[in-house]
Amino acid sequence: MSLWFELAASGLITGGIYAVVAIGLNLQYGLMRILNISHGEFLMLGAYLTWLGYTVLQVNPLVFLPVVALVMFVLGVAVYRLCFYRIVSTAPAVEVIEARSLLVGFGLLYLVQNLAYLTWGADLRGYSFLAEPLEIAGSRFSLNRVVVFGFAVGASLLLLAVLRFTLIGKAVRAMMQSPTGAQLVGIDTKVLHPVVFGAGLALAGVAGALLSMIYEISPAMGEPYTVTALIVIVLGGLGSALGSLLGGFLLGVVETFGMHFTSPSLKMVLSYGVLIAVLLARPKGLFAR
């Protein structure tokens, strides 16, 4: 019993992080058709910011979280303005936006990752934060994992609430349903696109900051998360934030159980297996209506 509980809990913790990474990416895709393959590199930047904050300025990583989010948001608006604005406004068709933004994403991936290599080197960095154990229902977890899980779920739910209950959230949802219709009723793309892109990067930064509390960080840490986020998005349905949250949990749990009962080296086979099975059976995502 306690084994099952432990596996499920650790799957949900991993899944919570997956969800935060995926939701940001999914919003960008759903709204602007930008499939930002360099999403994980911004996660890595968030992790390095937090690490710098902790080791240089001695700031508590949790206190530093809003700073990271804000910095990444501003960076996101700048990246959007410099790189993606031109693509979205000049491309003749949606497929062209997808293809070109994918290429620009690769460019950003090379750029950001290697800037990080130049600045911080290839060494693994890390710090110890809230590493003491905590007992829940007879199972032991380190405190930082529980905190990370709480913040990941909190951030995801906050975003879902913003999307559901605020005017700007309504505008985002309207724009996903029908870009032309949304513009007709006076929703301004010029404001909404940079804001949502920035919010996506802010989420990536938060995910990176949370990860840096548990794992060691390196300039290459982002890439696997981009791949996982793509899987989660397809699982949950392109453009659906709630789908990404559930898809993230699902993938985290499937991976954890699968790895326990088969072999850790099968982790990626499992995730891709799930992805391909879902795509073949339900190409619009698991939760599509």
Binding site: C83, L108, L230, I231, L238, P283
Partner: protein, 305 residues
């Protein structure tokens, strides 16, 4: 340029390139080999993806599959046969996969082709570890480096020749029709499904054959080397930067990319990739049709069908 003239240029060019082993040092020959390999990969990629506007990220999977056919057959199969078998294995895999996923478009197709490549890579890793008890394989008897060079040259030239024929054929017209508007093409009587699977398998054949031919260059191969996603990304970048709708564009940009990579990567590994990233962003933003769009007249671009 008519088909006959184009073939003349191709044959003349290949013959000239075939003479390089007598003219160049080993280092320069290795450089030429990498140019030719990427030219072959980029041409075979744009054969399907350039015309149809489907974004496939499966090149690394085909390449790696071909390489593993050579590795598994090492000692048992002669080099030429394993190159052919590598191509056929990749083509069969592509046809199978294509039948299952070619109804997906856009980002879904890109993600699933990438996912399939990774799935094959991780499955092979697992299989080798669990049942063969090895991580990688050593290819003990490698052919002469000039033999490898000529083989890669033949495969790449065959890819270009096939691309030329396909462009002029009914299949090429059908593919371009699918690229402009798939539903309209179907309405006009194009069997979209069959055309896509055929072209996808054809383009995979050359990627697989190139993988099989190149495998012997490494002497030790393991899944991370031959299924390196970088090979797939590089191919896509080269083709799109050169202009995936043209034939010459990918070839020119393959040479440029390989030279840049070879000369800059060793000296300034990080700076090189930073510059590559910047270049890529600027190219996409300000020259979205690829380098070829600078030279090619409007009617040769997409939609001349």
């Amino acid at each position: 340029m008519t088909l006959r003239n184009a073939f003349g240029v191709l044959v003349a060019g290949s013959l000239a390139l075939a003479a390089l082993p007598w003219l160049l040092s080993d280092f320069l020959l290795a450089l030429a080999l990498s140019c030719i390999m990427y030219a072959g990969l980029a041409v075979s990629w744009s054969m399907f993806c350039g015309a149809t506007n489907y974004l496939s990220l499966a090149t690394a999977a085909f390449f790696g599959l071909g390489a593993y056919v050579t590795a598994w057959g090492a000692g048992a199969l002669p080099y030429g046969v394993s190159v052919l078998a590598g191509g056929l294995a990749a083509a069969a895999f592509a046809a199978l996969v294509g039948a299952a996923v070619l109804h997906l478009r856009g980002a879904y197709f890109a993600v699933i082709t990438f996912g399939l490549g990774e799935l094959v890579r991780h499955s092979i890793t697992y299989y080798e570890k669990a049942y063969e008890g090895t991580v990688g394989r050593i290819i003990a008897e490698a052919p002469e480096s000039t033999t490898v060079y000529w083989t890669v040259l033949i495969v790449a030239a065959a890819a270009v020749a096939t691309a030329l024929v396909v462009r002029e054929s009914r299949l090429g017209l059908a593919l371009r029709g699918i690229g402009s508007d798939e539903e309209r093409a179907q309405t006009l009587g194009v069997n979209a499904r069959r055309s896509k699977i055929l072209a996808f398998a054809l383009s995979a054949f050359f990627a697989g054959a190139l993988g099989a031919a190149m495998a012997v260059r490494w002497t030790y191969i393991d899944p991370p080397t031959v299924f390196n996603p970088f090979i797939g990304f590089q191919t896509v970048l080269i083709a799109m930067v050169g202009g995936a709708q043209t034939l010459l564009g990918p070839i020119v940009s393959a040479v440029a990319f390989s030279l840049l990579t070879e000369f800059l990567r060793l000296q300034f590994p990080y700076l090189f990739l930073i510059i590559l990233g910047l270049l890529l962003i600027l190219l996409v933003l300000y020259l979205p049709g690829g380098i070829a769009s600078l030279f090619v007249r409007e009617r040769w671009r997409r939609g001349n069908a």
